[in-house]
């Protein structure tokens, strides 16, 4: 029930701003997250950032998948 996409913060205007992925920009609200900065990656649902994307964890998850790929 939660279509949400990782997007990069590219503009901040107080509580709201603009996020971007694949060359597409969308207005977004940042009211639900503390300390959002330009360049952060966030998970965006229904026009709001609901959580940060933890890039270190993302890489760990991908390393796990890569390991499986190699082992097979």
């Amino acid at each position: 029930m939660c279509l949400a996409v990782p997007m990069k913060v590219v503009e901040i205007h107080g509580d709201t701003g603009v996020v971007e992925t694949g060359g597409v920009r969308q207005d977004a609200g940042f009211q639900l997250l503390e300390g959002v900065k330009n360049g952060d990656y966030v998970i965006v649902h229904a026009g709001f950032a609901i959580q940060r994307l933890d890039e270190a964890e993302a890489l760990e998850t991908l390393a796990l998948f890569k390991g499986l790929e190699k082992a097979s």
């Binding site: 029930m1 939660c2 279509l3 996409v5 992925t21 694949g22 060359g23 597409v24 920009r25 969308q26 207005d27 649902h45 229904a46 026009g47």
Partner: protein, 341 residues
């Protein structure tokens, strides 16, 4: 001194009434831009030269909103839509008619832009506007402007294409990347908060089709993938020919920005409307050559071979996903709507 049409800023009911204001609209706005020896006779009907071959005939109406979108407008859409319908029948498009229903109050400046787009598209396609009509309805009874066209083309004697001629073993090609028109129009609508650089792909495809038909044997079916997207036309071909169509997701061209916009709204690019992309089903022996021919054109630069026709599962279109699994591509029921789930 009576004001000329140029000095009147907005369309009035009288512009459709057949009187002096109508004549002024015709002579000051339409004829100078679209005029040619056939149109200029301004008879009740235009007399066309003997075609010397079978004729293809089509009609279409255009009610797109917004009227002006990134990459085009309703005028360009009207000409290209009609030209492409003729081209998909294997015909060389020659003549079109232009019927317009204008809403009272429609800005004359906007009408001029639309007529200018009609002319540019007609020139690009190599067709003439030979007949037309203009009516005006009260404010609120039309969305600015509605356009109806009819088109006539000539069909060469030796080639026949039809949705019913696809055969097992054929290759399936697409002439360009998917979803640009639909996503360009959607991104320019309010309420969705999305901004992209996506431009409509609206284009006349007849030169590509002509070249393809001249250079390659064994072209069986051609369909432009408009409303309902590529999925709709491939399903039509599968059903009409009684064959199965198997697509390979990895080969289907979709631009990154179109895919991203689709991901944000929960859309599938296979179902998004195009106005400058067509599907080809043809004998597979010349399919790679056909791709090269299409790639020689600006509008065909992303052409690709995307699947094959089989005798398995007749009437059905399936897709082999990037993961190697298989799923069925049904025609869409209704339109896709932006979703959050």
């Amino acid at each position: 001194m009576k004001p000329s049409v140029q000095e009147i800023k907005e369309i009035r009911l009288a512009h459709g009434g057949g009187g002096t204001l109508s004549q002024r609209l015709l002579h000051e706005l339409i004829i100078p831009v679209l005029g040619n020896p056939l149109l200029n006779t301004l008879d009740d009907s235009v007399l066309l030269p003997d075609p010397g071959s079978r004729l293809a005939f089509t009609t279409d109406s255009f009610v797109v909103q917004p009227l002006f979108f990134p990459g085009g407008d309703i005028g360009r859409l009207a000409v290209c839509g009609t030209v492409n319908d003729l081209a998909m029948a294997g015909a060389v498009p020659k003549y079109i008619s232009l019927g317009m229903i204008l809403e009272e109050g429609f800005p004359v400046a906007d009408l001029k832009t639309v007529i200018g787009s009609v002319r540019a598209a007609a020139e690009e396609a190599g067709v003439l506007v030979v007949a037309g009509d203009t009516k005006v309805v009260e404010k609120g009874k039309a969305d600015g402007i509605f356009i109806n066209t009819a088109g006539i083309g000539m069909v060469p004697a030796n080639k026949t294409v039809s949705a019913s001629l696809a055969a097992p073993g054929d290759a399936v090609l697409v002439s360009g990347s998917l979803g640009r028109h639909g996503m360009a129009v959607l991104s320019s609508r309010e309420g969705l908060g999305i901004r992209t650089a996506i431009s409509s792909d609206v284009a006349p495809l007849n030169h590509l089709v002509f070249s393809l038909m001249e250079s390659c044997e064994g072209v069986h079916s051609l369909r432009d993938a408009t409303r309902g997207g590529l999925a709709a036309v491939l399903n039509e071909i599968a059903v009409s020919s009684g064959v199965g169509i198997e697509l390979d997701e990895r080969s289907i061209p979709v631009g990154e920005d179109v895919q991203a916009a689709c991901d944000l709204l929960g859309f599938d690019p296979l179902y998004v409307a195009n106005e400058g992309v067509f599907a080809v089903v043809m004998d597979q022996r010349e399919a790679d050559h056909a791709v090269q021919i299409l790639k020689g054109f600006e509008y065909g630069r992303n052409a690709a071979r995307i699947g094959r026709v089989s005798k398995e599962s007749p009437g059905r279109v399936t897709l082999r996903t990037n993961l190697g699994t298989c799923r069925i591509i049904d025609p869409l029921s209704g339109e896709q709507l932006p979703r959050i789930c």
